[in-house]
C-alpha cells in the first residue's frame, strides 16, 4: 500500500486538483436543487435547463461585451449578469405560473410538469442559440495558467479552474450557511423547510418564501452554468447531463442539506478524478457508486434526518 502511494502520490495530487474544480461546479448546481427541494418539496427536473440557459446567457453577454471591445475582465461581469438575469426573470415566472399550481399534488404529476418544462426550455435554447457549439472563454484566458510541479516536470492548470471555481463554490457555501442561519429571511426559509405547516401557523407567508427560494435556487443553477461556460462548449443537451448528476448529489447529501451537498460534491469530484487516473472504466459510475454506498448505510443521506411520518 505504502509503495503504491509512493509511486502514485504525485498523480493522486493531480487528481485532487482536478477533483476540486469539478466538485465546485457540481456543488453550484446541486446546492440550488437541494435548496429548492427543501422548501418546495418538488423534484425540479427543469433545474438542468436553468443551468443551461444561465450558461448560454453568460456566454452571449460575454460575446456581446467582447464584440464591443470591453476588457476581458468584463467577462466576469457577464457571468454574474447572466446568472442574475436568468434567476431573476425565469425563476419567478416558473414558480408563479407553473410550480405553484402543482404544490401538494402527486409527486408523479410534479415530475411530469417539471419534465415538460424541461423539454420546452430545451427547445427554447435551440430556438435562441441554435445547435452549433457556443463558447466564450474570455475569463479563462484573462487569468492564464499556472505551472504545477510534477516530479521533474510541470503541469499547466488554468487559474480559473484551480482557484476561481473552488473559490466561488466555497464562498457560496459559507455565504449560504450564513444567510440561512444568521439572517431573518434565511431563518424563515429554514422554518418552512423544517415544518411548513407550523411555520404558516406562526404567520410566515409560505408563498413568498417559496417564490424567494425558487428564484434563489434558479439563480444558483444559472450561476453554475455561467461559471461552467468559459471552460466548456454549450450544445443542446447539456442541461440533461447536469441534472442527472445533481440528483445523485441531492439524494446522497440528504434532501435540503447544504453542507451535505458540498461534501457529496467533493466526494464525487475526487472519486471521479481518481477513477480517470486509476480505473477509467469506473469514471462514469463513480458518482452512483458513492450514492449507493451512502444510501445503503444512511438511507436518509449523509446529512439527512429521519422524519416521522405525519398522519
Amino acid at each position: 500500500m505504502g509503495e503504491w502511494f509512493a509511486e502514485n502520490g504525485l498523480l493522486l495530487g493531480l487528481a485532487g486538483l482536478d477533483g476540486l474544480s469539478y466538485a465546485a461546479l457540481v456543488f453550484m448546481v446541486a446546492v440550488g436543487l437541494n435548496l429548492v427541494f427543501g422548501v418546495l418539496r418538488i423534484v425540479n427536473v427543469a433545474h438542468g435547463s436553468l443551468f443551461a440557459i444561465g450558461a448560454y446567457a453568460a456566454a452571449s453577454i460575454g460575446l456581446f461585451f467582447a464584440a464591443r471591445g470591453l476588457p476581458p475582465a468584463a467577462g466576469f461581469a457577464a457571468l454574474l449578469l447572466g446568472a442574475a438575469l436568468v434567476g431573476g426573470l425565469l425563476g419567478p415566472v416558473i414558480e408563479r405560473l407553473v410550480l405553484r399550481r402543482v404544490y401538494g399534488q402527486e409527486e408523479v404529476l410534479q415530475l411530469l410538469v417539471t419534465f415538460a418544462l424541461f423539454m420546452i426550455l430545451e427547445d427554447v435554447q435551440k430556438l435562441v442559440w441554435g445547435v452549433q457549439p457556443v463558447s466564450q472563454d474570455a475569463p479563462l484566458k484573462a487569468l492564464g495558467t499556472v505551472e504545477v510541479p510534477f516530479g521533474d516536470d510541470t503541469i499547466p492548470f488554468t487559474v480559473y479552474q484551480l482557484f476561481v471555481l473552488p473559490g466561488v463554490a466555497l464562498a457560496t457555501l459559507i455565504g449560504l450557511a450564513w444567510f440561512l442561519r444568521r439572517t431573518l429571511t434565511g431563518r424563515v426559509i429554514v422554518a418552512v423547510t423544517t415544518d411548513k405547516e407550523a411555520a404558516t401557523a406562526m404567520g410566515i407567508d409560505a408563498a413568498k418564501v417559496t417564490l424567494l427560494t425558487f428564484t434563489f435556487g434558479a439563480a444558483l443553477a444559472a450561476l453554475g452554468g455561467a461559471l461552467a461556460s468559459p471552460t466548456t462548449s454549450l450544445v443542446p443537451g447539456i442541461g440533461a447531463s447536469t441534472i442527472v448528476l445533481s440528483f445523485a448529489v441531492v439524494a446522497t447529501a440528504g434532501l435540503g442539506q447544504i453542507e451535505g451537498a458540498a461534501l457529496t460534491s467533493l466526494l464525487i469530484g475526487l472519486g471521479r478524478s481518481a477513477a480517470v487516473y486509476f480505473a477509467p472504466e469506473l469514471e462514469v459510475v463513480v458518482p452512483y457508486l458513492i450514492m449507493v454506498a451512502v444510501l445503503l448505510v444512511r438511507p436518509q443521506g449523509l446529512f439527512g434526518v429521519v422524519e416521522t411520518r405525519r398522519v
Partner: protein, 441 residues
Amino acid sequence: MSQPFDVSRRAAVLGAAASGALLWAGQGARAQSGQKPSELRVGITTFLSGPASVFGVPARQAAELLIEGINRNGGIGGVPVRAFFVDEGPGADHLVGEYRRLVQNEQVHVVFASISSGSCLACTPLSTELRKTTILWDCGTQRIFEEAKHPYAFRTQGYGTPEILAPLLYLLKTKPDFRTLAVINQDYAWGRDSWELWKAGMDALKPGVRVVAEMFPRFNSTDFSTEITRMLALRPDVILSTSWGGELVTLVRQAAERRLFERSTFVLPVAEASMQPLGRTMPAGHIIGARGDHWNNHPRPKDPDALKRFVDGYRQRFNEYPIYPCHHMAQAFSALQAAYAKAIQAKNDGWPNDQELADAFRGLSFDSPTSTITLREDGQGLEDQLVGLSSHGDRFPFAVPRDMVIFPAAMVSTPVGQKSVDWLKSLKTDILEKVPAPIAS
C-alpha cells in the same frame, strides 16, 4: 336476451373496425406500384434534438436546400420531391416505430436513415421486411453490411473503417517514430468501435506502440480537465480522439488552453464539423479528417463549380459553411436522382416500383461535387478519404487541412465479405507504400 345481441353487435363493429385498420395498414405496407406519383415522398431521419443535432439540423437544412433546387428544376423524373423529417433524438426504439409510420402511413417512396449507428442498426432490417429502399445517408458502423445482407439498403458514403484507417496511415507516413499513444473517445458505440478498428490496424502496421491511457468519458461530457491533466503527465507521442460535436470542441479548447497540443500530436478523424466553432483556437499541425473527401478547400474537386455552388448556396442561406453531414445529405440526393434516372431509363420512361428502384441502386455510380461514388454489390458506397494537417490561412476563419492526402476508397475499405477488424489485423506494411503523396496547398 338483448345482451348477446349487443355483444355481438359490438363485436361486429369492433371486428369491422379492426379489419378496416388491418386493411389500411396492409395498404400502407404494400409495395409501391410502378405508377408515377404526384409527389416523391422521402422520409428523412436525423437528429433534431440532443447533442447530435449539431449534425442533424445542418443536414436537414441541406436537405431542404437541395429539395428546393431539385424541385425548381422539375423534380426527379418530373415528380416534385417532398421530405418527411423524423427526429432520431428519442432513441432507436422510437425510431423503429417512426420508420414504420413513414412507410405505412406516410407512404414514403424512399427512407434516408440515419446519423446514429444504433439507429441504422435498428432500422436497416426494416428495409428488408417492408421492402423499402433505404439510403443510409450518414451512419458509420461497419457492422451493417458485414453482419447481414440488406438488399434494399445502400450507404451513399464511406464508413468507420476507411474513416479510421486513412488517418492511421497518414500518421504512420508523417510521424512514423511515435512510440506511445493515448486515446480519449466518447463512451458509446462509435467511441468504442472506432478504437477497436484503430487498435487492430495499428497493431498490424506498427506493433509495439504502447497505449498509455484508454479513456472513454461519459457521452455528452462537458469537462475533460482530468483527462487532459493525465495526458499532460503521461506525455504520449500521439493522442487519438474520434469524438465529435460539442465534446470535441470542448476537448480541443481545454487541451489548447493547457498547451497539450504542444506536447503531443493529435489525430482527430471527425474534426471537420468542429472546426468552425473552434475558429483559430484549433492549433496547427495536427491530423484532421472529415469522414470523406468533402473539405471545403478540397485541392482538386471533380466539379469545382458544383462544390462552389453548394458551399456558397448553403452559406448564403444559413450564414455558415456546410459541414460533412450536409455533404453526406447531398450525396444521398445525388444517388437518389441517379438511381431514379437509371430505373426510369431501364423501364423505357416508366416509373419504377420498389424492387426496380432497389435494383437500380446496386452498382450505381453517382457524382458528388468532389468525386464519383460507386455502390458495391453489398450496398456499401466507396467514398475517398481526405486527411491532412490542420492549418490556418486567410481564406477560412477556421482550420482546414494542408498537405492533404486523398486515400482512394477501395484502398482503405474492407473487401466485400470480410469483417473489418479481421481485415485490419491482416494488413501488411506494404499498404504504406501505396499511400498517395500529399497534395501541396
